[in-house]
Symmetry: C2
Subunit: 484 residues, 2 copies
Amino acid sequence: MSSLHIYNSLTRNKDLFEPLMPGVVSMYVCGPTVYGHSHLGHAKSYVSFDVVVRWLRHLGFKVRYVQNITDVGHLTDDADEGEDKIQRQASKEMVDPMEIAQAYTRSYFEDMDRLGVLRPNIAPTATGHIPEQIAIIERLIDKGHAYESNGNIYFSVESFPGYGKLSGRTDQAAVQSGGRVEQRSDKRSPSDFALWKRAEPGHIMKWPSPWGVGYPGWHVECSAMAMKYLGETIDIHGGGMENKFPHHDCEIAQAEAATGKPFVRFWMHNNMVTVDGVKMGKSLGNFITLKELFGTFDPMVIRFFILQSHYRSPLDFSNAAIKASQSGLEKLHETARRLLETRPGSGTLDVGSFVRKTEEALNDDFNTPVAISVIFEFAKALNGALDRNEGLSADAAAEAMAYLETFAGKVLGILRSREELEAGEAGDGGETLADVISVVLELRKDARARKDFAMSDAIRDLLLAKGIELKDTREGTTWTKKRG
Amino acid sequence: MSSLHIYNSLTRNKDLFEPLMPGVVSMYVCGPTVYGHSHLGHAKSYVSFDVVVRWLRHLGFKVRYVQNITDVGHLTDDADEGEDKIQRQASKEMVDPMEIAQAYTRSYFEDMDRLGVLRPNIAPTATGHIPEQIAIIERLIDKGHAYESNGNIYFSVESFPGYGKLSGRTDQAAVQSGGRVEQRSDKRSPSDFALWKRAEPGHIMKWPSPWGVGYPGWHVECSAMAMKYLGETIDIHGGGMENKFPHHDCEIAQAEAATGKPFVRFWMHNNMVTVDGVKMGKSLGNFITLKELFGTFDPMVIRFFILQSHYRSPLDFSNAAIKASQSGLEKLHETARRLLETRPGSGTLDVGSFVRKTEEALNDDFNTPVAISVIFEFAKALNGALDRNEGLSADAAAEAMAYLETFAGKVLGILRSREELEAGEAGDGGETLADVISVVLELRKDARARKDFAMSDAIRDLLLAKGIELKDTREGTTWTKKRG
C-alpha cells in the first residue's frame, strides 16, 4: 500500500490513490490526432504521463495503459464545423487519408521512442473501432440520451444533468462555438454535441451505420475505446487541460449516460506549452516540431527539461532554458560516470534519506521538479564523498548507483544506460568514430615519417585488437571494422 | 514505357506488364499475422516484394503499395478449425489480444526497417476494417454467393464456377481439411469456406454483425481491404506460394463474385525457406527469428543473401551460405569505398553496358540474382580500371558511383549510404568509439611516460578538434564528447 496522492481535476483535490481492483491500475490518456508531426505540447503531455505510468509500476501496480490514436479527421473547428484535418492534409499531399494518418502515427511513435516514452499497452485507432462507437451511440439513443436529426446523431445535454461537472462550464453553447452562439438548425439545443455525422459529398473517411453513411463525432471514440479495453469505470484518465471542455466533459456524459456508472475516478490534466512566453501556434510563427528540436538538442535533454517543471504548470520553452537543462543533465552524467569508475574506499553515504525524499516527492502528485532537485542534492553529496580520501566503500557505491539507476533511470528516464555511461556518450554513429580514427592514423603517419616503425606497428596492432583493420594502399591508409 | 515482364501465377506465363491506369500501379501484398516475431520466411517475402516496388518506382510508376496486418486471430488449422493464434498467445502472456497484436506489429516493422524494406503506403489492420468486411459479405449474400448457417456465413463454392482457377486445385474439401474430408454439419458443401464465424463463448476478439456477434473468416479481410484502398481491379497481388490455395483462390472468389469484375491482373508468388534443406518449423527445432539472426549477422547481409536467389526459387538457409554472402557484400563495399576515395585520373569505363544488363535482368521478372552478378562483374571491371595507372576520369568515376548507388543502393537496397561508406562502417554506437579512444589514450600515456609532452599535448588538441575533450583526474584520464 503506497501513500500516493494524485491531484484529481474532478474533485479539485489531492486525493489518496487506490485503484478499483487491488494491485491493478487502468489508465487512459487521449493520444494525438495524426495529421502532422508532433511538437513540444505533445512531448509535455506524454512525457508527464509516462512518468505517472513508470511510478505506478515502480510502486508495484500492474498498469494497463491505453492511449488512443485519432486517425479519423476531426473538424478543424472545435464547434463541429470546419474541415477534417486529416483529409485536408491528404489533399495537400495528394494521398489517401489513411496514408497520412499512418505516416504521422509512425512519426509520433518515433519521436516518443526518442523521448524515452514507453509505448502504451494498447494504442487503439479511432478508425479501427467504428463498431464500438456505433454500439455506444445506439445505447445512448435507446436510453433517450441521443437523437437523430438529418443523418446526424446528437447527444442531448439536457438529458444528462451532470454535463459540465469536470470543467464547471455552464455556458456551453457559447464556449462550443468559440463565442458565437450559433443555432444549428438540426440540434435541439445549441449545447448538444455530435456523436455521428452524416458524410457530406467528397468526405473520404466514412462508414455505413444504422443512420446512413457517415463518421463519428470528435468525442465518442475515447469513451468507446477506454471502456472496451479498461471497463466501464476506469482509474485514471489523462489529457491536456485545454481539453477539459468540451472533450472530457463529453466523454463523461457519453460513458455515464450509457452505463449509469461513474466513468473516471481520477482525472489528470497537464498544462500547456508557451514559447518565449507566448502560446505556440502555427500562425504565430513560433511553431517547432520535435524533429526540428531534436536536430539541435538531445531528446533526453528535452525530456529532462519537461520534467523540471510540474505537469500541472505551464512549460515555457526558450533556448536559454533548454541550454540550462542540457548543462544540468551533463553534470548529472559526469557524476554518474565518476561513480562508475571510482575505486572502492571505505567511506559511507546516507543514500536511504535521499530515497525517502525522492519517493515523497513522487508520491505527492508526481512532483518531478522536486524529485529532480533531490537527485541533484544527492549528486552534490556524492561528489563530496568521492572527493574525500576514504572515498566510498563498494557497498555504499553500489547503493548510490542503485539509487541513481532507479530514480533517475527507471522512474524518470533521464539517465543513460550503464553501457552508454561507460562508452562516454551515446554513440552517434560513425562520424566521431571516423574522426578519432583519423587522429590515430595521423599519429601513425607521423611515426612512420620519423621512421618509428615500432610505433607504427604498435598502432596497427592496438587497433586490430579493437576490431579495426588498417589497409595501406596507394591512395593512403583505409580502415574497416571487422565483424565478430 | 518499359519492357517489364512479370511471371503471372494466373496465366503461368511471363507477361508484359502494363498497369490498368497509365503511370500508376496498384499493388497489394498479404502481410503478417502478428502473433509472434518475424522469421526468415517473412523476410524472403517482404524483401522480394520490396524490390518489386522499388523497381516499379525506378521505372517511373507511381505505386500505391498496400500491405495488410492480420491482427485478428486466425484459427490455427487452415480448415477453419483449431484455436485463434493471437488469442492463444494472449492467454500465454496474460494480456489482451490487442496488446499482443500491437506488440508484434511493432516487432515486425522494426525487423523490416532493419532489412531496408520500405513501409507500404498503407498498412491496414483486419480489426480496423470490420465494417468493410461485413459490407462485402452482405453483398455476397444478396447476390446469392453466400449463406448463413447457425450464425456462420459461408461462401458457396458451387455459385462461383471459377473457384480454384489460380491454384488449379479441384479437390478442395480434401485440401481444406488437410486430407480429411470432414463434413461440417452447417456447410452446404464441404468446400465452402467461412466468411464470418459466430463467436463461441470465451472468444475475445468479436464484433456485432447482422448475423450476431462474431468475427471474420480468414480470407475476407484481404479482399475487403485491397478493394477499399486500390479499387475493384488491382494490378498486382503478391504473397507466399503456400497461400495460393485456399487463401488466394478464396480472395478471388469473394472479390469477383461481389463485383463481377476481375480482381487481380498479376498474381506474384514467392517461394519458401528451408533450413539446411529442411522446412523451417517450430516443432522441428530449426526455427529462428529475425531478431536472433540479427544478433549474428548484419540485416543487410540477410537482405543480400535473400536477393541472391530468385523470389520464385526456394531459399535454403545455412550458416555457410550466409557467411559467403557476408564476404561478398563486404567486397562490394570495399570496391565502393575505393571508388569514393580515388583521385581523378584519365581512364574510362563502359558503365552503360552494365546499366543495360542490370535493367534487362530486373525487367525479366525481377531477376535479382542475375542483377547482382552483373553488379559484381561491374565491380571487377571497376577494380581493374582503378588498378591501372590512368585510373578513372572524374566523369567516369561519377558515372560508376551513380550506377552503384542506383542499382545496388536505391533499387536493391544492398549498398550502405555514402556517409556510412565514408565513415568506414555503419556506426555501432559508443563501443568501438570508446575502444579507439582508449587506444589514443594509451598512446598519450606512453608519450607522457617518455616525457614527450609535445606529443601528449598534440594528441589532446587533435582530439579536441574532433569534439572529444580529455580530463586528467586522479583516477585516470576520462573523456567526453562535446556537443556543437
